[in-house]
Symmetry: D2
Subunit: 431 residues, 4 copies
């Protein structure tokens, strides 16, 4: 095939040399990712970050292409070039099952984007499956197994999913570029120079230690600064409460939802199939929410309005041991007419930036290994004091969300609200 390219602001060009890859990109299931934002609630806070999962998936593919191109040329002794197309296809498709507002949606409707990814790849109904089968009858299953970590060759699996994989490398660079913060930038070119396959996985030359360290620090910073931003999480709380209200109302007035949110019905009734899932995207969901803004149910219409028009909840941090004490705040909120089921929420965000392999854990992490001049292997945190700090340490916070109205004291309820504010200091709950 003549090389095709896509201009990309992060990687300059996405290069496609395999017809299979080109056709996968043009499949309807993949094009659908254009209608699903990569970080929909982050975009509310960092307005530049409106990019879709489509662009991210192309980026993951491109990094995989560059890595496997290097492996094909420099490490043919230990890397099987036949794995390259598989790696690229898995990179491209690893997120193909993501839907609108995935994380919140899954919690409310008990769906799983990873299961959908597997199904899109392996179901004979999809264009993607048909394209993959052109490579070989078992190719769809191989791609799916790479993505779910069961593929025997750990080199391939680790490129797609590990503590330093093509997915993470792209999203850090991309979310950083689009949000306009520099924290997520790291030296991809240098990492591509030091990444190497070994018999049972992927390692990095010890000379590139600082590039890998910098990647981990960037990842930590993006979580702290961007992904865990309190305002974005406010939108998630709002969305969660909105969908919770809709589910409750559906029980008594399914007709209303048949009319205003037809494609959600299978999910309300817990019998959604792949086609139902693929029919949802950001635009469809927002169209439903916009309809609900004129619902006769005050809570549904108000929450939909707040979500669509970005009237966010406010939040404070609290310590784990004082969670029960939040009831005092909840009572005050309720006392002036807000139903706490729908007008408060707790959002807990924690991240473990890096960890070594701990066989005793249920899902032990694949540690990052460095290879020295003499061929010996050494785990990263032994070489970097900074990484040592991040190792096994969980970072994040707990936040309690409530209506902004609680902080405005120039009305009837001023004494209630003053009582409310007396529990807060430096945006933290004190009890």
């Amino acid at each position: 095939m003549n090389e095709k390219v896509f201009r990309d602001p992060v990687h300059n060009y996405i290069n496609v040399n395999h017809e299979v890859i080109y056709d996968l990109i043009n499949s309807k299931e993949f094009q659908r990712l254009r209608r699903v934002k990569q970080v929909p609630t982050t975009a509310i806070t960092f307005h530049g970050a409106e990019h879709s999962r489509f662009t991210h998936c192309l980026g993951v593919y491109e990094i995989a292409r560059r890595v496997t191109d290097i492996f094909d040329n420099k490490y043919a002794d230990i890397w099987n070039p036949d794995e390259s197309l598989l790696t690229m296809a898995a990179a491209l498709l690893h997120d193909v099952g993501h839907g609108a507002y995935s994380h919140t949606f899954e919690r409310l409707f008990d769906t799983d984007h990873e299961a959908y990814t597997q199904e899109i790849i392996t179901s004979p109904e999809t264009e993607i499956n048909a394209i993959l089968r052109r490579v070989s009858p078992d190719f769809p299953d191989k791609v799916a197994s790479v993505i779910n970590h069961t593929y025997p060759n750990k080199q391939v699996v680790q490129l797609i999913s590990s503590q330093i994989d093509c997915d993470r490398m792209d999203y850090l660079l991309r979310d950083s570029y689009y949000s306009g913060v520099s924290y997520g930038q790291f030296d991809l070119t240098r990492i591509l120079r030091v990444i190497r396959p070994v018999k049972d996985g992927i390692v990095f030359s010890a000379s590139g230690m600082h590039a890998v360290e910098d990647y981990l620090v960037s990842r930590y910073q993006m979580y702290m600064q961007v992904y865990f931003h309190p305002a974005s999480r406010s939108m998630e709380v709002l969305l969660q409460n909105l969908l919770k209200r809709a589910k409750v109302l559906y029980l008594s007035d399914s007709d209303y939802f048949k009319q205003t949110a037809p494609n959600l019905l299978p999910f309300f009734e817990n019998k959604a199939e792949l086609a139902d899932y693929l029919a949802l995207d950001d635009g469809v969901m927002n169209t439903y929410f916009q309809s609900w803004m004129s619902s006769e149910d005050d809570i549904l219409s108000d929450l939909a309005s707040r979500f669509i028009n970005r009237k966010m909840f406010k939040s404070i941090t609290f310590d784990s041991h004082s969670e029960k004490e939040l009831n005092r705040l909840i009572e005050l909120i309720q006392s002036i007419g807000f139903d706490p089921d729908y007008y408060t929420g707790i959002h807990v965000n924690f991240d473990l930036p890096y960890d070594i392999y701990r066989p005793e854990k249920t899902n032990p992490r694949t540690e990052i290994n460095m290879i020295q001049k003499d061929g010996s292997i050494i785990e990263l945190s032994n070489l970097s004091a900074l990484v040592k700090t991040l190792t096994g340490t969980i970072f994040g916070d707990r936040r309690f969300y409530f209506p902004k109205e609680m902080l405005i004291t120039d009305d009837l309820f001023s004494s209630v609200k003053e009582s409310f504010m007396s529990h807060i200091s430096n945006e933290h709950f004190k009890h």
Copy 2:
């Protein structure tokens, strides 16, 4: 007010120091712009360019803020600082009436986003109008008059709308950043250093001639390379044919559209009001198109499918004098079953990168004037040979669009298609 900031990848920070501006940004009519892409069909070709009109409008505001801040501080003798808030508000709101796929939509439904902009600002029904009225009762009208060029102070008008205005400066930088092409980059900081108010408008110090020249060349390049890209225009042709089909079908089956596209009805019936217009956005329109993919009308469902799944028409250029000869191609297309009303299209794109003031024209352009050390004024093209070339010269092309199937000759219709291809050389129509 405490300064508020929004992180922006193009301008680093958007700074807000007026409560009016902050409230305008938070109004529901302005937040709606998050759901309207800035360059929706360009995003199909340059996948990174998925940004919304919301981000662009913030950017135009920020440039206006920087300019008026400089004017307030350095040119208080000739610039009235009372005009600064007006300028910033007009900058922020200049595009607030844009809707989904504006250009195509307007052609099909005879609407006008500029008229909607005026209405959103002046109608007492909108949040925006209420916020503006807080400044003074006539403030909404003043803002509207700046945007429609009737405001008496030409300094303000030219900052919002001229051949080098805050709008154009932001969209070049922004579309360039998001699409990943460097062509639109120019030296905004330098332009901010040389921009100056004079009695009857805006001029630039002659010492900054090359920065202005570079801006015009960048603008020319963005049109040639990005905005006029044949693939993006293919999506516009597809969209136009799709909506044309819907309008025809509506005459015989309005029920179908009542169900699948409720918010389009007022437009089909030519009685849309402001609220109807504001209810439409990219997500709503795409949701309708996705419904139409299962229409019983083959043409509607096929065009909707092609649009949603990005199965684009192909195109060739043709010369103005050979337009009639295209009928030969149209006949061939029709002969194998494609209805040319819906499966072909002509897309003509021309731009006049720069022009001097020509009083004899209907809408004469405001020329770009440079001010010399001794205070004398000289029009830009007298100083720059490059600008001289661009002056009064129209650039662009004419393209004929048709189904990609016409170029695939391995089927029944191969002789028809070969005949079709014999009229094409280097992607140009030869007759």
Copy 3:
């Protein structure tokens, strides 16, 4: 050889895969380029542009490496991979004969950096020659012939020297990066995608027309904005007058120069050999000038002081037909005690940004050719109206330099100076 890399701010990494290239870089003649600034007088105006010819030469090599790597892989039918090392060596060494303040130095001492480049490559005395001979006995001569355009394969010659060659592409990007102006930036990656060898030279795919156009516009802008900056040229005039004075004084007091500028002696006496030339660099020259600051000759010491301490001459533009009239100014300058031989100067800078092949000219240019889908060739200016303007048109100006003191009128000579200033309007000479 294990790949070696050099971190480079312009190209990210310089990659070296041939031991010959690595050894050339490490030769003493090449390392000497670290002590010769790329644009020494520009650095006086754009203080960031302090980079050396060493970095530029590495950059030219890197572009040549990328181009030949693409040619080796994609165009082996028409490109002989044996030419790749030759191309890279010529790219690396094309400027190796540059010395301190080359352009001014050559004018004063009648030397020629191109001749020195040839000699460094072909003289058996140099490390570079010895390294090149390791490839084959005739390799030095081949490299030299590429650089002086006599090598028979025009593909190679045009990559090193034509209107769009590796040299120009690097210096535009590099000088732009270091000076901090964006004008010199263009899309190198895109150009690398469309550059192709044909039988008798180098062409570019027509689809990349705008990238090539943008390169030419960038080149034009760098000349107008950076290279022709009046302040930098002031330093050249100062330097020229300083060296002119030294040459005159040498005739009567050679001992003084033996002591203060030993390595310049062979040049004063017009019998310099290669080793003499290689002994000079920016630091050595500046050391001499610093000595001269305490010379007993007032003119020599004053000019040296002005040059070292950056006390520049001022300038005005003038038209070709009014050059004679400048005598009026010269008389005024002389009347207050400045020797016009050393305190005035004319500096004429013109550039022809692009030209087609004109066989009637002495050194006809190699035009830039584009290749269309059907293989036909078309010269660039036929495709681009912007390039058409730049074609065959000379841009630049004529400047007359004089002491800044002429513009300060608060002293004895105020009436002379006012008379002087009456001939100037908007920094232009009016007669």
Copy 4:
């Protein structure tokens, strides 16, 4: 004064609004900094980093200008605007006493660039002193006292010299830009938004914690990756040994040095005055070294040659407790004819990236304090786990340098060299 600007690749523009600042920049003592590289030995490894102390000093000034501009406008209650010019002058001049290869030079000749900075500012002989005195008779002393930390207002002192000051912020950004590594980049704009004067110094809003954290991590990474690079330190060892040799030879042959290195004489004789110091710069020193390349002393000429032509020593790391064991290596080196006094060296580089205030220390550090919403102050490492790790922890390594020849075993001395190499594993000394 009309604003003057200097184009700068790091800060875009350096803005000058005070005639005093403009004249300081144009003084001969300040212009001299153009001839002194910022990181001369780093430039050997990262070839792009050829920038001078001149550009860095302008950058420090520009950051100080931006900070004081903010303080003048936003914090006039607690910041005295009269301090702004003082702060800017101190920022501009803080490094004006730096000379060629400062760190090595000082060790060999027992000079002190900080003392020279004080002298340049306060000595009535300098242009800088005369310019400063125009502000007020005690202004030179005030500027000098800010730089040596004795000025009573700690706000000013901390802006110029603390763990997060204008100096460090510029050099990280600048050295990073010029070397082409991204590690030194941090979010200066955000830091400028959160920096605030308090009564007794400078603090940062707690909301900007991650920007300050990022700055400290960037600083750590630049030290580890760039400043401590083994190859750059090799040049320092070479230089040190070269000057050591010159000092020894001077005792017996002062005439040779009178002729080849006239401006070094006062330093050899330990009676240098300010004018002697100012007469030295990189170019002068390198000119001397180039003369020494033809010295009759083999060691002097060889070391000079190695330094000028970049024939570096190699190195290995070693642990503090095994330093004595290095004698085994030294003996082997000596056994094949290298004088270990001049052909080996130890280079120890350690940095303490951040520390809290420890009153018991001799030079306790000023800790970085954050200010919370309620006005309370909290030291940074209490808010950031990453900073906590860096606090009080020293990072770096010890290296032993030796001739590269020791690693080449294909000669007479192969058994000695093999014995030498048997003590090395992964570039570390094992004993």
